[in-house]
């Protein structure tokens, strides 16, 4: 595919200087919004994403009430100024699909049975987008749920892996997503060892499929440590401070 040569050089170094299995810098903050019951802000590469949670609260319209559990609503939305060309603010088909898969990735972690007849709302707003925004959104949204004090089985953490030519790489940025040969967003519940989101595009041999998938699991566990630190800072560290990681290249 076009552009493959420029994306990764003969020494395996990517455009932004990363090796195949490195993450972009990630910064997490929990408890950043005044009105929301829970919130988290993530900067991941050039992604800037805010997640806010309201609830458990009364369900409107009433006919949507679930008698045995909470109704979890989720909207993933991109700000018109978040991308190169202005995006129409109305929800696109892509955003509707992503809202659905994020919701389905979060529900298994939330103990929805603890809040019958209520609604829990998760709003994910992409302020600036740079590839991998859905997994970054999930990572922030699960922190916002935890910040809201909602009972959870585990956190949910996302990471996307993919292909540049036949090389498996972790955490594609915008250029690599568009010019590369495949993208595989994965979300996991790290303590339970379960996958709650999996999407694939690109052409993977069976071997590369497994390699990319397992790399996403490994990277997810790494980001989970940052989620824990961000929550620790939120609840025991006074002012909300950002948590950054320095990653050693393998």
């Amino acid at each position: 595919m076009a552009g493959t040569k420029q994306l990764i050089d003969e020494n395996g170094v990517r455009l932004d200087g990363r090796k195949w299995n490195e993450l972009r810098p990630i910064k997490l903050q929990v408890g950043v919004m005044k009105n929301a019951d829970g919130s988290a802000y993530i900067e991941w590469g050039k992604n800037k994403i805010m997640a806010a949670v309201y609830g458990p609260k009364e369900v409107h319209p009433k006919h949507q009430v679930l008698p045995d559990r909470a109704l979890l609503r989720c909207r993933y939305h991109m700000a018109p100024f978040s991308v190169d060309e202005r995006k129409n603010p109305a929800p696109s088909r892509r955003e509707i699909e992503i809202s659905k898969v994020i919701r389905e990735a979060l529900i298994p972690a939330v103990i929805v049975e603890d809040y019958p007849r209520t609604a829990i709302e998760v709003w994910v707003e992409v302020l600036q987008s740079d590839g991998g925004s859905r997994v970054a959104g999930i990572t922030a949204a699960s922190l916002a749920l935890a910040d809201a004090g909602i009972n959870m089985r585990d956190l949910v953490v996302g990471c996307s892996c993919g292909l540049i030519g036949e090389q498996v790489v972790s955490d594609l940025d915008d250029t690599e997503d568009k010019e590369g040969n495949g993208d595989m967003p994965v979300a996991i519940m790290p303590n339970l060892g379960l996958v709650s989101l999996l999407q694939v595009d690109g052409v993977y041999t069976r071997e590369n499929f497994q390699k990319a998938f397992e790399l996403a699991l490994e990277k997810g566990k790494q980001i989970y440590q940052m989620q824990r630190e961000a929550l620790t800072t939120r609840f025991f560290g006074g002012e909300a401070q950002s948590t950054e990681i320095e990653e050693a290249a393998e």
Binding site: S99, K100, V101, E104, L194, S196, Q199, R206, F209, F213
Partner: protein
């Protein structure tokens, strides 16, 4: 899909029975765990379309039609054609389907189907360019879901593949910087045969090609599309539940092997 949820009491009794049977490797309709339902493909059913296919997978019925026209290329691919795959769940298809703007389920169906066709590079888009930056051939595939009995993802994908494989389009020539259609009919430049295989988890068992009854009892669904070489080119996990890493790899292997059999059937029907 959520719209298939019916009577909760009957549903839970059915699920109980289904899980018991699955433990001994059987399904309610007598199929093996990795056995898809009967697949029937008829092509050329709508002569006014450039290509068409009526596909039934058990009682799920999908009609796909291809329409081809010229269009303006996307700015980032000035010399490549346009391919759009869309799907609509008709209100006639089930007592639970509704008229109106597309539901979340319908949008997911259309996008997952499109992804499998696009990512496998089934159609060689470089052969659909006419005048770089100005004019290209645009291929629209629209799918009507006529009857719902589970696994819309696979039935829709097979209908798209069959319709595209048998579609004919006018050959275009460029005259005075304009694309002009000639009377000569040529096939769409199809290179690959993507095959989607959807697997549901009921209890802890994975079953291929779930029908409506099984979908009402499943807690997880995964669709995996493979190409002629057994490469994986698209996937989507569905439902508000999780899957273990081992089952992801198991599903990948099942979809490669089941996909091989189905691909042979599609190729046979669209020769």
């Amino acid at each position: 899909m959520s719209m298939m949820k019916k009577n909760h009491v009957v549903e839970s009794i059915t699920k109980e029975r289904m899980v018991q049977l699955l433990a001994s490797g059987k399904r309610l309709d007598g199929r093996a765990l990795d056995q898809p339902r009967n697949l029937n493909i008829e092509t050329g059913v709508i002569p006014k379309a450039n290509g068409s296919a009526r596909v039934s997978l058990g009682n799920t019925l999908v009609l796909a039609g291809v329409k081809i026209a010229t269009g303006i290329p996307f700015p980032d691919t000035p010399d490549k054609g346009i391919l759009m795959v869309n799907a609509e769940i008709l209100p006639m298809s089930s007592p639970y389907a509704e008229a109106g703007p597309p539901s979340e389920d319908a949008i997911e169906l259309a996008r997952v189907t499109d992804r499998g066709i696009r990512e496998s590079e089934m159609v060689d888009m470089t052969k659909l360019g006419l005048i770089p930056g100005k004019s290209v051939i645009a291929v629209f595939v629209d799918c009507n879901i006529m009857n719902v009995d589970g696994n819309l993802f696979d039935a829709t994908s097979y209908a798209v593949v069959a319709a595209l494989r048998t579609a004919k389009m006018n050959r275009y020539v460029v005259k005075d910087d304009k694309a002009v259609a000639t009377d000569e009919l040529i096939p769409v430049p199809v290179e690959r045969t993507p095959v989607s295989v959807t697997i549901a988890r009921i209890g802890d068992k994975l079953v291929v090609d779930p029908n409506s009854e099984e979908e009402a009892s499943m807690d997880m669904r995964i669709t995996i599309t493979t190409d002629d070489d057994g490469n994986i080119c698209a996937s989507q996990k569905g439902e508000a539940s999780t899957i273990s890493p081992e089952q992801v790899l198991q599903a990948a292997d099942t979809s490669i092997s089941v996909g091989r059999t189905i691909r042979a059937k599609i190729l046979e029907a669209t020769r």
